[in-house]
């Protein structure tokens, strides 16, 4: 990975934690009301999509830096906010936003790990990179 990309990652990851919560809280993710009559699941395939999305997000939330419980509360809140959305196009749009949050979480976790490993094992390299004016031996 070239150096300029590394610096870009540093800048982006600093904004990531707050940004991620913003997206989660203020984005509308749908919740389709649980089927009260058995067998009506098949009638609306979006229902299972939404449920799977919730499960996937919950699974990812276990590693959330501010704690799994914190994440779960906010996730539930975000889903509950939209439990009355019925238009399939709307729902599809919101599910896509949920998938986007999944990608953001994965990127967040990767960056945290990468930065931690880099800090622990490659400190010398970084200071060598920052000493731009130093003549090369």
């Amino acid at each position: 990975m070239p150096i300029s990309e590394l610096l870009l990652f540093y800048i982006i990851s600093c904004c990531m934690l707050n940004h991620l919560l913003y997206v989660l809280l203020f984005s509308s993710i749908p919740v389709v009301k649980a089927a009260t009559v058995s067998g009506s699941d098949m009638a609306n395939p979006l229902r299972s999509e939404v449920r799977q999305l919730y499960k996937n997000l919950l699974f990812l939330g276990r590693e959330y830096p501010k704690g799994a419980d914190y994440f779960r509360e906010r996730l539930k809140g975000a889903f509950m906010k939209n439990k009355d959305v019925t238009d399939p196009k709307e729902i599809k749009k919101l599910v896509d936003r949920g998938e986007f949050v999944i990608k953001e979480l994965e990127a967040l976790y990767y960056l945290r790990k990468y930065r931690a490993m880099k800090k622990r094992y490659y400190e010398e390299e970084l200071s060598a990179v920052l000493n731009i004016g130093r003549p090369v031996d």
Partner: protein, 253 residues
Amino acid sequence: MSRVLVGVKRVIDYAVKIRVKPDHSGVVTDGVKHSMNPFCEIAVEEAVKLKEKKFIKEVVAVSCGPTQVTETIRTALAMGCDRGIHVEVSGKDYEAMGPLQIAKIFAALAKKEEASLVILGKQAIDDDCNQTGQMTAALLDWPQGTFASEVTIDGEKVKVVREIDGGLETIKISMPAVLTADLRLNTPRYATLPNIMKAKKKKIANMKPADLGVDMVSRVEVLRVDEPPTRLAGVKVETVDDLVAKLKANGTI
């Protein structure tokens, strides 16, 4: 045809604060969050990438340890490995287990499975040995491409770009070979819930070191484990004269 062995190690999660046991015999591991070694994740990702590019047919994830390591093997399967091998080591043997024993196990497995490549992480974040890959290559008498930051397969040879102190070194080694993954080799994928569900169908074979003819006797004994010394607080001075006086008193100038 072409088969790759990938080693994965179950270590204490990188984000956990490590605590030394009161008797200084080791580190507290009970009830502490464990996960796959970050460099092993990179190794698994590289193997899966090679399979996706159709350079190899099968990726086998291997881990040594007690029953809990099957979780780590499952994560490797969820990332795209085809099957797993769990080499069961527990109790005193597990505590005394080090790179030499692992290398012997991997050497035996590589021969048994007829692997063309053995890919490992460059080092584990718990012991920082950075020896297993090198020892495995030596035991097998195979070439090694360590600290790999780029791997390309070119017919029967592998081109490896290695991250070394002075910069980058490109070497070409013939297969079969041992590679160890460095941080910038690739970006490991996350094992999402759907992938983990799919991985439940994949097989994990179980065996003991004795089945491979490996003796687990350790030649190394851990005498004592201590925390690193706490950093002393810095001293603030008001003027430059104060600084010079303090440095003189310290014996630095």
